[in-house]
């Protein structure tokens, strides 16, 4: 499968789930409407950074939540103050997703062919 960003071997992990049907997730974005820059992984943002304790696979995925309230909470942190919330409608062909860390936090590895912006909708502030 062709992912949006180059991924290491074994990534996404086999225990991640392929998005097979409609699934709504939420992501914090810098602009409204969002741009594709809002869907770049940590690795794409900083190609030579050392992410200690975070696997290269997770560093090349995108953080998303299944609850909008988690985005509200994250917006209280310095890095995300003033950000907008985008609702992303995932469907078959969106890629793979895995719960990582807190119960409502997921890492999403989008497929290259999935047209992200066409599936995004801004959430009212």
């Amino acid at each position: 499968m062709n992912y949006r960003e180059p991924l290491p071997d074994g990534c996404p992990p086999p225990e991640s789930d392929e998005v097979a049907g409609p699934l709504v997730v939420f992501r914090l974005v810098r602009s409204s409407p969002p741009s594709l820059d809002d869907f770049r992984s940590q690795r794409a943002e900083r190609p030579s950074a050392a992410f200690r304790g975070v696997s290269e696979c997770v560093a090349r995925g995108l953080s998303v939540y299944k609850r909008v309230t988690d985005c509200d909470k994250t917006r209280k942190l310095p890095q995300f103050q003033g950000r907008f919330i985008c609702q992303v409608y995932l469907e078959a062909g969106a890629g793979r997703i895995q719960q990582t860390g807190r119960p409502t936090h997921y890492t999403w590895w989008p497929l290259a062919a999935f047209e992200i912006l066409g599936h995004c909708e801004a959430v009212a502030p």
Partner: protein
């Protein structure tokens, strides 16, 4: 300049956003990610009193007040380095004037802990298991026989060890290789005799990863399945058969111990992010019914093992053999009525299909594993 070492990630979103850290002499710090400098992550860092940190970890105070309401004014900006230590540079202006502080209202958890197990898990920021032994001597006062407590904990640890092994075997080989599992199944006793019934608090010996996930969770989820229907022998029998092997054997030995020692068992475990702990219980009477139900199944605790390697020794008379596999040399015996070793060539490469059985030694506190050859073929 101060050096601090991150000890756990408390909140993750596109990177570790809130981190707990320690300095070289054990001082506690909380670090919050701010705008990066080039390729390096950058954190605002404040030393915090352990009690206030515990309150934050429990979800009782918010991040901003944890950082601002302190008995000292010193604070730092730290950049992540190539090693485990971060260099934290002291700042002269008041922290309250820093433009990149968390807003009010950032609580680590949505609700306060609903149970002691969850409170401990949050305070320790680790997976915690609370065990209550219902021994007869504990009914009237806070006491338990030394042997009962020691054996109970040993049996429990053995069940967890084999539950972890069983859970790992369901993972793809690539995933298994990526996991550091050397001590992931181990539990440490952290509160040996908590008030209440005879209650012991255990904590995962290995810290969770930087996403806050504990390897031990795999084992406890598997163990929960075995205790799910403790009062229904038939359902439990079906579940134990599905876990045939060392896990089933260890579970059977734990049940026998509960019956022999006349002890009931309750446990609850939680990770810091849980809303509720996961709890299971089994009474002495239910353990007795299960022991009876399981005693009718043969070879429940024997685990199929396949070995491939060069034959190093084979004694046709004694029925013993030794095979050099990729994972090291393994030795075993023939089962009465099993295949013969006659005709096998030393240094030849063979596939041995075996059953591994565990026998208790030292009063049930140690395990001795024996491999019995069931089939062999050239590989």
């Amino acid at each position: 300049m101060k050096k601090i070492r991150p000890t756990s990630t408390l909140y993750y979103y596109d990177g570790p956003q809130v981190v707990e850290a320690r300095d070289a002499i054990g001082g506690h710090y909380v670090a919050v990610m701010v705008a990066p400098v080039g390729e390096q992550d950058r954190y605002v860092v404040a030393g915090v009193e352990p009690q206030r940190l515990q309150q934050f970890l429990a979800g009782e105070i918010d991040l901003r007040s944890l950082m601002l309401h302190r008995s000292e004014d010193e604070w730092f900006l730290a950049t992540t380095g190539a090693d485990d230590w971060w260099l934290a540079e002291p700042q002269s202006s008041p922290l309250s004037s820093f433009s990149q502080l968390p807003e009010e209202g950032f609580l680590l958890h949505d609700a306060p802990p609903s149970s002691e197990a969850l409170r401990e898990a949050r305070a320790r920021n680790n997976l915690v298991m609370e065990v209550a032994a219902e021994a007869r001597e504990s009914a009237g006062e806070h006491r338990i026989r030394v042997g009962t407590l020691a054996e109970l904990l040993t049996h429990l640890q053995v069940v967890v060890k084999h539950a972890y092994g069983a859970a790992l075997r369901t993972l793809p080989v690539d995933s298994r290789r990526m996991i550091d599992r050397s001590e992931a199944h181990l539990l440490d006793v952290v509160v040996p005799a908590a008030p209440g019934s005879f209650r012991i608090v255990l904590e995962a010996a290995t810290r969770p990863d930087l996403l806050g996930q504990s390897e031990l969770r795999r084992a406890l989820e598997r163990m929960d399945e075995l205790f799910l229907s403790a009062s229904d022998p038939q359902q439990t029998l079906a579940m134990v058969k599905a876990h045939r092997g060392h896990l089933a054997g260890a579970y059977q030995r734990l049940l026998r111990f509960l019956v022999d020692s006349k002890v009931g068992l309750r446990y609850a475990w939680a990770e810091p992010s849980f809303a509720e702990p996961r709890a299971r219980a089994i009474s002495e009477a239910d353990a007795g019914s299960l022991v009876d139900a399981l005693s009718g199944v043969s070879n429940l605790g024997a685990e199929p093992v396949e070995l491939v390697g060069a034959l190093k020794a084979a004694n046709v008379n004694s029925g013993t053999w030794r095979l050099a596999t990729e994972g090291g040399e393994r030795a075993g015996k023939l089962k009465p009525g099993g295949p013969s070793l006659a005709g096998l060539k030393l240094e030849g490469t063979y596939r041995f299909t075996c059953l591994e059985e565990i026998e208790e030694t030292h009063g049930g506190t140690r395990e001795q594993q024996t491999l019995y050859l069931m089939e062999h073929e050239p590989a």
